[in-house]
């Protein structure tokens, strides 16, 4: 009597948990569908996107572009990723890609070196590796899709501010940290561009908001008090441009001082809509994902090997040529303004 009960309860426990697990697995294999077919064997057009982390609007947008491209050329798209943007979190997913033997893995690297060995193991298993947004060291990938060149970023911002202030007057730059390498490179190039092509524009000062919202806000206020004739502020950092726009939008300078630079549509939307900001620049992550997916396809098909001078066609974006260090440049930065900002959510 007693023994039978004991056995029954043990079995019941087993059945309850087994049912849970099996139904969980079963449920997910339903959604798998086409996956089982395309999982094995190289040469198939299965492309997996591995962003820095999931739930990040920027990568949601780039993956959307990737998914559209994969659908266009009839491959199988998957998006996987860790919840936290850490290299070790990405390694498990890279390993999984190696196990699946998928056609190509499109990665935004959380570390230029730490995920390298895992990527090379996947490449040994026949998977092509394309990095986008954030590169690894060149020996770990077949191709890097570069969102924008330093020259392109500098020129886009100078062109924007020149157009907005009528190509003449005083402007200032609100940067991130004083020792931020990429910021300093851009500012240097902007200065050269202004000197060479815009003789009536004068960059009066570069201030540093340390990519901190409050610091950037205070620096904007100080700039406007110090230079009453200031006509524009360029901030090549997403934190800075949003803080500057917020200050200007609530001050008397609204409409008189133009704010532009590099920003994201979600941060800048209200300032574009209320007229503080005419236009700002960034690359289009959707196009970036789209291009990365087509580059992956070209690698899988063997159309390109990632050597300098290789060319391939990326659907609606047209033809691209592989540059030095197996890098493909997306193109000039994308300009967001009142007319197109509604199309973006990142």
């Amino acid at each position: 009597m007693k023994l039978r009960n004991k056995k029954a309860t043990a079995l019941a426990a087993l059945a309850v948990s087994a049912a849970l697990v099996l139904s969980a697995c079963g449920g997910s294999s339903d959604s798998d569908g086409g996956g089982s077919g395309s999982g094995g064997g190289g040469g198939d057009l299965s492309v997996t996107f591995l962003p820095k982390n999931l739930g990040n609007p920027y990568f949601d947008t780039s993956d959307k572009g990737g998914a559209a491209a994969v659908k266009e050329f009839g491959g199988k798209f998957a998006e996987v990723g860790p919840q936290e943007a850490t290299p070790d979190g990405q390694v498990s997913f890279i390993n999984t890609a190696a196990q699946q033997g998928i056609g190509a893995l499109v990665v935004s690297a959380n570390d230029p070196k730490a995920i390298g060995d895992a990527l090379n193991e996947a490449r040994d298993a026949g998977t092509k590796v394309v990095t986008f947004d954030s590169d690894t060291d060149p020996e770990y990938r077949d191709l890097f899709i570069n969102q924008a060149s330093a020259e392109g970023i500098a020129k886009a911002q100078v062109d924007l501010i020149a157009e907005q202030i009528g190509d003449s007057g005083e402007i200032a730059i609100l940067s991130a940290a004083a020792n931020a390498t990429n910021q300093n490179t851009w500012i240097d190039l902007m200065q050269k561009d202004v000197d060479a092509n815009h003789p009536n524009i004068k960059i009066v000062e570069t201030v540093y908001g340390d990519d901190d919202d409050q610091t950037s806000f205070d620096k904007t206020s100080a700039l406007l008090n110090k230079y009453p004739d200031l006509k524009g502020i360029v901030s090549p950092t997403t934190v800075g441009i949003a803080a500057a726009a917020r200050y200007v939008s609530t001050s008397d300078f609204k409409g008189k001082v133009k704010v532009t630079g590099l920003g994201t549509p979600n941060q800048m939307r209200e300032y574009v809509e209320d007229g503080t900001v005419d236009a700002f620049a960034l690359w289009n992550p959707e196009d970036l994902g789209y291009l990365a997916a087509f580059a992956a396809k070209a690698l899988i098909d063997g159309d390109i090997k990632g050597d300098e001078g290789d060319t391939f066609t990326a659907g609606k974006l047209g033809d691209f040529t592989v540059g030095a260090d197996s890098t493909v440049l997306l193109g000039d930065p994308f300009v967001f303004n009142k007319d197109n900002i509604g199309d973006f959510d990142f």
Binding site: A18, L20, A24, V80, Q83, D88, S92
Partner: protein, 363 residues
């Protein structure tokens, strides 16, 4: 129910744990339910999940679960005493940072690893001292040291990462034994498993661990050195976590302050899934090993199925809740059936056995 468990009720005149034949005592337990579930999930995945039967699966799976498996060993003993150590993942992070920072400063990897393990021992000793000798609650102490050790780790390296490790050592962390699909990390793991199984299940020290979990005052009066036992367990947890940190660093070739963030919860989840009672006094290492592997197999299979990380976490969370609930559910069923039986066999000596049985076995 293993032989190391002792019945809790004083009223029972018979010993329900020993009232059944050996195979029933060994096989009809939570531990074997987890092992059976592990086998079911494993073979289900082999048949149903594409590429799960590939040559890389076992290799990557073992590489992935290795740090959790390592830390689960001392964690099991700590939880059986009724304590908890939430600072293990921060110790992993600190050890990782130390290996990276000391190596960057010119120290060889073995020396840096040695220093990291010593610091791990110190971290564990600090926890153990506050808990065992000062008498503070382990939950509070280790929440504090969780922040403290993580803070030290992040403080040393800041937001930078050290990734420049010699290939000899990063390759060793990922090396296989011969041509098999077993990575070399399983060798130290097996050694530690044997050590901890012997320690917990076959020594007076291990019996003391269970006694402390059941009732630490009674354990004290029956000659168990409660403070020393707890202190040593936390030191072991610190040392093993530091070792796991070294492995983690070399496997990913990256020393960062935020390495292994949140791993303490994965370890504790696996330990509880393996049938260890969070209230202490109950548990066995074979169940914990199965619990760790079950989580590993599930993660691997679901990832191969392109299930996203948050859905995987949801499934593992539900599994843990179901497993914890099944204990309460079983004792409810046992209580109900015992009640029914009491009415049916009023006055028979089996009544006491039945009630003792649900308290002793299913708590």
């Amino acid at each position: 129910m293993t032989t190391t468990d002792t019945p809790r009720t004083q009223s029972a005149r018979t010993y329900p744990s020993y009232a059944k034949s050996l195979w029933q005592r060994v096989l009809l337990t939570r531990e074997f339910a987890v092992i059976a579930l592990l086998l079911i999930v494993f073979f289900y995945s082999r048949n149903q999940i594409p590429n799960f039967d590939g040559p890389l699966t076992i290799y990557y799976l073992l590489l992935d679960v290795a740090p959790i498996l390592l830390i689960a060993l001392p964690m099991t003993l700590i939880i059986i005493t009724g304590e908890i150590d939430l600072s293990v993942a921060s110790t992993v992070g600190l050890s990782s940072v130390l290996v990276g920072d000391l190596h960057q400063g010119g120290m060889s990897i073995p020396m840096a690893a040695l220093v990291a393990i010593l610091v791990g021992v110190l971290c564990g000793a600090f926890n153990g001292f506050l808990i065992a000798y000062v008498g503070l609650p382990s939950l509070a102490v280790t929440i504090g040291t969780l922040a403290l050790y993580r803070g030290l780790g992040v403080g040393i390296l800041g937001t930078t990462a050290v990734t420049d490790f010699p290939e000899k050592w990063t390759d060793l962390a990922k090396d296989r034994i011969g041509d098999s699909s077993y990575p070399v990390i399983v060798i130290p793991i097996l050694v530690l498993i044997i050590v901890f199984v012997l320690l917990l299940h076959f020594t007076p020290f291990g019996r003391g661990v269970f006694d402390i979990g059941l009732n630490d005052e009674a354990a004290h009066f029956s000659g168990v050195n409660v403070a020393r036992t707890k202190f040593l367990l936390f030191v072991m947890a610190g040392a093993v976590s530091a070792f796991a940190g070294i492995y983690f660093t070399l496997r990913f070739g990256s020393a960062r302050g935020d390495n292994a963030t949140g791993m303490e919860l994965q370890v504790i989840a696996a330990v509880l899934l393996g049938g260890v009672s969070i209230f202490g006094g109950r548990g066995a290492l074979h169940g914990v090993l199965a619990g760790v592997l079950l989580i590993g197999v599930l993660q691997s299979a679901l990832r191969l199925d392109d299930v996203s990380a948050n859905v995987i976490n949801i499934i593992i969370g539900l599994l843990l809740i179901a497993s914890v609930m099944s204990t309460s559910f079983l004792s409810f069923v046992a209580r109900t059936t015992a009640g029914m039986k009491r009415r049916a066999t009023e006055g028979s000596p089996e009544r006491q056995q039945a009630s003792a049985h649900h308290e002793g076995n299913n708590s």
